[in-house]
Every structure is written in C-alpha cells, then in structure tokens.
Subunit: 623 residues, 2 copies
Amino acid sequence: MANDYLARLDAIRNLMAEKAWDVLIVSGSDSHVSEYVSDRWRGVRWLSGFMGEGDLVITQDHAGVWTDSRYFISGREELSGTGYELHEIRIPGAVDVPEWLAAHFMEEVDGDVVICVDGVTQPARSVLDIKKTFSAFGYEVDNDNMGLRIVSVPDVLELIWENRPAIPMSPIISLGEDLVGESRSSKIAWLRNFLEEEGYGAILVSALDEIAWLLNVRGSDIDCNPVVISYLLVTKSEVRWFVRKTAFSRLDEETMESFGELKEDGVEICPYGDVEIGISEIMQELGEALYVDVDHLNYNLFNIITGVGQEGSVVMGASPVAVRKAIKNEVEIEGMREAHFEDGLVMERFLYWLESQVEYSEGIDEWDAACHLNELRSEVEGFKGLSFETISAYGPNAALPHYVTPHRGAALLGDDGLYLCDSGGQYMYGTTDLTRTVPLGRCDSLEREDYTLVLKGHIDLAMAIFPKGTAGCHLDVLARNPLWRNKRNFGHGSGHGVGFFLNVHEGPQGIRQDYNEQPILPGMVVSDEPGMYREGSHGIRHENLLLCRDAGENEYGSWLKFEVLTLCHMDTSIVDIQLLTDEELDWLNEYNERVYDQLGPYLPREVAHWLYRKTRPLEREKF
Amino acid sequence: MANDYLARLDAIRNLMAEKAWDVLIVSGSDSHVSEYVSDRWRGVRWLSGFMGEGDLVITQDHAGVWTDSRYFISGREELSGTGYELHEIRIPGAVDVPEWLAAHFMEEVDGDVVICVDGVTQPARSVLDIKKTFSAFGYEVDNDNMGLRIVSVPDVLELIWENRPAIPMSPIISLGEDLVGESRSSKIAWLRNFLEEEGYGAILVSALDEIAWLLNVRGSDIDCNPVVISYLLVTKSEVRWFVRKTAFSRLDEETMESFGELKEDGVEICPYGDVEIGISEIMQELGEALYVDVDHLNYNLFNIITGVGQEGSVVMGASPVAVRKAIKNEVEIEGMREAHFEDGLVMERFLYWLESQVEYSEGIDEWDAACHLNELRSEVEGFKGLSFETISAYGPNAALPHYVTPHRGAALLGDDGLYLCDSGGQYMYGTTDLTRTVPLGRCDSLEREDYTLVLKGHIDLAMAIFPKGTAGCHLDVLARNPLWRNKRNFGHGSGHGVGFFLNVHEGPQGIRQDYNEQPILPGMVVSDEPGMYREGSHGIRHENLLLCRDAGENEYGSWLKFEVLTLCHMDTSIVDIQLLTDEELDWLNEYNERVYDQLGPYLPREVAHWLYRKTRPLEREKF
C-alpha cells in the first residue's frame, strides 16, 4: 500500500507544478465541517493511508498530516513509508498548519505563495486563520499580485482520484412528533421567531445534525451519524432544503414518503447542487441580512455569501439551533431512557458472554468480541446502527484511547489484565455511548489502582450538584482530581454532548479544560468518561451518559444535578476500596443495585443470576 | 450626615446644569486604577457616604451607586436617605453603568448626551466601554455635534469639595537585595529586554504595586497598600520616576536617602505632575512604540497618549511586570515564610487571649478584639502596618463577607456561636492574610455542618496537585464542591494572589469561576478562602495562604502543588468528623500538628499548653 501513497503523492506534486501551486491543503472535513465524514470526503485517507482525523499539507519538499494526540501512535505507524510526516497539534508548543506554512515560506518572500485548497471541503474558518497568520508574518494578503494567494478549486482531488465515492444518498426517514416531541413546523416557527427578533431575513443551516433535528429527518449518509447530506435555507416565508441530485422518480420509497410529508409542511425540496444559486438568489431578494454559522461553512460558500450583496448583508455568528437541539424535550428524554434500557440489556448479555468465552472457549479476539456485541445490538427493535465504531481493545491496545480494532490480527483475549470496550447504538428513540473496562482475570496493583482512581473521578463528576450557569469547563476537574492527586492524567475531555438519535458528539456543551462558556443546562446529555492510559501496558475508561436535571432552588441559587442514563454494571472485583470515600462507595453500590433492579427481570435467567452476583454491594472489611 | 450628602448632591446638580452636563460619573478609582485608594480619591464616599467600592452616577433625575454583592447589605444602609440608589453589579441580569446610561437616554435621541467624567480618576477602559455601549444602542460616538459627548474635567470634584485631602506623600523606603532578592537594576534590565524583544521604545508603568516592585521601594500612600503614588517611564536609556511634588529640600530624611540610592541606580526623579509632559516629550522623540497597560490607565493619560504621535506609536497590552512580580523569588519566599511564622505567633496569642476573655471577662466587643490583634501585630519587628482593615465579626455580622467593624456599637462577643476574624499584616519581609472562624461556645448543627463543609473545600483546594498550565478558574470548583453538593455556595472567589510586602490582592492569577487563563505558577502565592454566609445567623470563612511549588515530572506532565504558608491552628471542636474523608482528616491533623511543632517552642508557656490541647488530633470514634 505504501507505494500507492507515494505514487499518489507524485501525481499530486506533478499537478501542483503544472498549476504553479506551492501548497495543496486537503482538509479532513466534508462540505459541512462535520467531525466524521463519508467516504467521498476521505481524501486524507485515500492520499496517505492515515485513518484518523487530520488535515494534510503538501509542498514540493514536504508532505505532512496534522493531527491530535488521539492518533499520534497509530498515525505514525500508518504513515510509515508513505512520504508523509506526522505533525502533532493541541499539545504545548504545537505548530499548526497556518504557522508552519507561513514560517516555511518566509524565505521565499520575493515571490508569491500560492495555496490551493478544495473550497468545498475546506472550512472557511481555516482559510481565515491562514490569512491572519500570514498577515502576522508580514505577508500581503488579499492582493492578487504579491504575497499570499489562495486558489480555491472545488473537488480538486477529482483530477487524480479515480473511482472517488459519490455523494451518499441513503434513504431518508421522517420522524413523527410521537418520537421526537416537537413537530418540524414548530421548530421552523421557532427559528423564524429568532430571525424576527434578531432582525435577519434568512438563515443558512449547514451543520448536518442541526438540519436533521430541525426537519425531524434522519438518514445514514455518514457512518454512525444518522444525518442527510444537505443544506437548509429558511426565510420568513420559505424553507428550501437542498438535498439529493436525482429526480423524484429515482428515489427510494421511504425517501419519497418523507419528501411528501416535508412538502406538506411547506418544505421545498431542491437539488443539493443548487445551494450556491439558491443562496445568491435569496440574498439578492432579501433586503435583510442572511445569518450563517461560520463554524460550519466551507470556504466555497463563504466566498459566495460574502461576494454577493452589499456590506451588512451577511451576519456570522453561532447557530441558535445548536443549544436548542442539545436541550432534550420530555419525549426525547423518555426515548433516551428507553434506549439506555435496551442497550443495557445488550451490554449485560455481552459481558456475560465475554466472561464465559474467556473462561471456557478456545479463545476469542477483540474483533470477535466487537462483532458479537454489534450483533446483539442489531437485534434490538428500532436499532439503526452503531453510534460509532466499537472500540474493542485488550491489554496494551487499550492504551490507545481511539484504538481501531483490526479485522485481521486483532489481539486474543487472555485470562488476565483489562479489556476495554467503548461502544454505542443509534436507536429510533435515542443514542447510547458507554465504556466498560473489564478485568479478565488477575490484574496487578497498578491496574487496580488506576481502575479505582478513574472510577473515583467518574463517580465524583456523576455526583456533582452545581448552580445554574456553571459551564462544563468548571466541572472537568472533578473527573480528574483523583488522578491528578496521584500525578496521573488523561489526554482527552471528561465529557461531550450526545445527540438524540443523532451524532454521538454534539455541542455546544462539553466537559473539558478548554474554555467554553456554554452552561450545562437541564435536558442536556453529556458523557462522563475519565480514563487512564499506560503505553505498552493497559488502558482504562469508565463512561456513562448523564442527563442534566433540575435540583431545586434555595437562597443560594438554582441547582442542577445529573441523572445517570446508562444502565450497565461497573465491575467491582478489582476496586481498591481503601481509595474510595464512603460517598463514592455508596454511589457505586447504589448504581449497581439499580442496574440489577431495572435490567434483571428482563434478562435471561442465567444472565440475571450472574448479574446479581456481579452487583453485590462492595463492603469495607470490619476490623 | 444624610443631609450633607443631599446638599452635596444639590451642589453637583447645580454645577451640572450650569455646565450643561447631563451626567456626572465619579469613579471609585484613583489615577492608577488601584483597587484601594487614598482619601484624596474617595469622592464616592465624600459625596454619598457609601463606604464600599463602587462607582457613582448622577443625572438631574437620578443618582446611584453601582457596586457588587460584597456591599449590597451595608451599601443599602449607608445610602439610605442620601438621595442615592444602590445598583447591583456582577449578578445575573445586572445592568452596568454604560448600559443603564444608554438605555436611560435613549428617549432623548434628538439631542446630545453629555457625560462629564473626572479624566484623572476615570479608568480609560470604562470610558471605552461607555462609548461601545452607546454605539451599540445607535448613538453617534466621537462626533462633536451629535449623539454622545464625553467631557473630561480633571479633578472636577475640587469645584465643590472643600478641604479635599492632598495627594499623599508618605516616606519612601528603599529595600535592599537582601530583602527582595533582586536589585532594581536587574529588574529594569529585564524590562528593557522585554522592550527590545517586542520592539517597543518605552513602557509606561502606572500600576502602583508594579512600580514599587520594579524600583524596590515602598511607601504608605494608600492604607494597607505599601505603595508610592507615582508613574514610571522606562525607555532603553532612561528611567523617569514621576513622584512627589515638593522640592528635595522639603523631603523627609528616609525619602531623601531612598532617592539618593535610586539616582545612583540611574533613576531620574521627576515631579508627579510632570508625567503628562514627560510622556508627550518621550513619545515625540521615541521612533518606536510606547507600550502601556490600558487596564491601569486613566482616561486623561489615555487621551494624551493616543493624541500624541502617529498611528502605531502606542501599543496597549497586559503589563509584563504583573506575572513576574507574582512569581516570588527564593528570598521573597523565605521572607513570606518568616512573615507567616511571626504572624502565626501573633494569631495564637490572640486566639488564646480571645478565649480567655470570652470565658472570664466582663465582655469584649468586635472592636476590642480587632484592636488587641492589631496591637499584638504592631509589636512584631519589621511590622509596617495591616495588609487590610481587620474584619472582626461576631454572629450575624460575620454573614457580611466584607463587614466593617464599627468603632462604636460593635457587637459584644457572647459565649456561643461563631466569631470570624479576617486579618493580615505587612512586614518588611512579607505579607499575610488569614481568616479563622472560632466557635465561642455552643454551636448549632447548621453552624457545625457549614463549618465542616467550608473546611472540606478549604482542605481539598490546599491538597490539590495539578499539571503545569492549569489556570485558577479550573481549580475553583475544588473549594466549592463540598458546599455545592449540599446546595450551598459563597459569592466570592476561592482565592486571590498576594504580594510580597505589597498589595494583599494582586494579579494576574486568581482562583475563581470567572475565566482567567493565567496559569498558577511555581512561586505564586494565592489565598484559599471558601466561605459560607447565612444572613441574620452566621458567617464562616477558613483562609490560608498557599505557595505554589514544583511537584516533579513524570510521563503525564509537570506537576505542581501547594505549600501552606499560614501557621495558625484550625479549631476542630465543632468539626463534624463524619463529613470528612480520611484524607481530609489526615490533612487537618497534620496541619495542626505542624502549627504546634513550629510555633509551640516560641510561644509563652501557657499559650503553648493551650495550643497543644487545641491541636490534638481529631479521631474517628471506634465502634
């Protein structure tokens, strides 16, 4: 394979020389600045073989992939011999793409620096960053004759990418109010009210999960993300949904039906490719400003939007949809509870099977385990796919927080050490995401200590009570403190937002050190997932989903707390009870008791018995 | 008194009418945007009788004082009958001065709004805020004919303020390298290196504690803040200190001597009033930009600096002095330890005396207690004054976090409930600040619980270990979590920076919810002071000073921890031991043991015996 990548790199460089581009940037994003993308937009992977999330930069004398700590180890392996170098970002002293480029070309100040981007997949924000950085380095920017020049070539890779996957067109389903708790008409009315109040004429929504939420539709255009590749333009009188390229007659029945419903609700269905014309048209007629969320805008659309019309005809800001979507309504909350109940039954059956396999079978590997778990999930009514690729990792493999279990050559599960499984499902009525770290037998003292300290952090965050207005970045330390006190840490956030039968990562809230002023509000769902990773030895993560709920008011403020949505017992066999406070121990025992009480009656008899033993309360030894 | 304030308000309104000013703003600040000010700049107090920190705004139909939660209760009492209304800031939904003004005058859009400020005491930042807000409300700004007009009248209050206090001129002392660990020449050389590296020609330092630190001088121009009212202008070849107005022959001997030393080190002594001319002169000669910290600049100087020279001749940014000053060197750290040792001896003698007074005396009040404590401190060698006015508060009075103990009518200390004492000293070799909450006898269960929960928060912050780069806002929750868990909270930060024989509040670091990206670095000193206040009942605060120290490196990062500087036992008699974790209990017992070990040998015999009993380890009951 490495030779393929070298050949492609050669082809790219020839193209660049021909076109007189000094730099080609290939973004890891799609046209909607999605976190996860469909195969069509996996140009970085196709070019370099890099499997993680990252951006790629090619010059005549250098080729590199810029990525974060999740992919440092796996990325180096994948890029070995491909001609690409791995650049680390989001670490102290990191040199980001704009800075690297500006510094790299500082010596060629006598001539232009021409950077080619694929405007369709390049986030507008990233190009603005490049311009800003080059300007700070002393380049002339926005000047066609001198300094930095950005050339935007939509779908540039098609020039050399044969058999590039098409834009996906999975069936589109329409969800009724009984499932999602609010009609699309009500959501559109709310959005129009936003336009009215803020004095805008229209809004372009380009974030795929926001569109799916607004229109109460789901697809499967991106693996594990039940979204539909599309744009939505809402004015005070029109709703135009730019989606699909085919004529109606060639659509599947489910999509046809959904389109019918949408049209009844006043949604005009337009071809995906017409979005540019559509925006230009509307902007010329509008009279008031178009509102867009620049963080989900690609560079191509950014140019179109800022090129049409006069000054003041565009206002860029955060999407109002994101927060409202993140606050689940009562129907969504009930659905999430149901999804976690079904998912819990699956998980307990899986963990029971896993233990018996390890004890009695010829040997299963990480891949087998993942497959069995996926199979169990797929039997659940309303299951629509995984919410992300299952991470099934044993021993040292679990030390990679984003380990991708290989189909061939996966590690065999032994009868000692720790097995980590991070997985989740998309159900018609909710999304799940949980991680369990399971002792497969004997564990050493460091494994026990790490396991317990991570559990302490997990429990401390879950038990949090906090005043309304508290942002997640202020809660993050609760999940870390037990590790910090022992000079240990983990390199990812403590929690992320989770959608309702939507993306498993959703904003705007988060629980991490990075500053984010978004308060955690009642109805929001966040994960609680501290971890601990020892390269070459083991990895531990304990993850539940938490629902933020009201906890009453008093003279000191309005209070919020978390309800644990996830239902799956926490293994107590290697917990070092001395490290837990009484409160933490009580939480653990009560949680496990609740898991047994809620799931036990619905599990096969032998699994229920096993779970009963697994959830017996942990007690301190009496002296 | 209230009639005096009404009369002054009348006089002001007549003046405003005469001058055609719609608004007069009187800032609670001095010319250096100091947190605490000398009597000369207590215009707000002179006009309204308000004793706290706040800004005052007068129109023909309204007069108000804008202040934060520390002064809501006391402020309302003080302002009663004065014609001024109290406006609350830093609470959800607060309307700040700029917003209030813009909204108030929205209806008079046909004419100008003329705002008069005393440019000398009005922070530049606040005027910029007013302009920005008015502009957002649709006013024309920076246009002499229409909309908003700001009139800056230096020392405007002198027009009606008879017998206004003069600019203070306390004796200036010069501190040797043996006391402060670094010569002024070295500090100036470092500052010039900053100018060199950043490409600036000069820097104007206007923050008084930064000047004191840079020049190794101290004064007592502001109560409890050992600073000298002055400006410092440092170019690559000159150091001009604008200080004092008198001729050399009329200076006190100490100041004369200090000036002599400074001149030997190349510091030119200039009259305070010449700063405006000095800046103009230097800016015209400079060729390179002048660097200023706009957060410590008054509006008058801001106008001068931005009015002289061309574009690019001024750069505004954060002062580089603040961080370097906050990081104490080894000599300063040793001095701080010594100060806390001496201060601890004072405190234990005070607490011993207090207990005996409450038990055996006719009755002492809060004022007597504060006086006795101040007297004990003043006997210490090197004592240079209090670091802030002692808060001596009994029972419900302690529920006001910034209670000012009255000379007459202070509460008598009884033999039950809680007494809170927050105090500190300025010593030649360091600054102290501690709070002890002392049970004077029987306490009810809520007092015991509050006392213990605040103590838990205090201990949890003190025990923190955290990776290098962690900002204080991420640690704040550690001090709050035990209270939050019980739906209780306190309305102030958990910790503030503390100077070395300098201001008891110093930045840039802090431990509070407000976002502040400044990491807590080795050598920084911060307070650890969670509290709990129940109006009409009791107030609790436990405060020590912590020194940030290195805690080693490992594969997970560079680690930092705190050393407790304060030496004064924590009363354990009303601790609810069930609420403490084993770790917290160990910390408490070890701390008290250390206090006894270090102070005991130096205390009078009967005090040492008493302290021995007071610091006996708290033990859980065995069942």
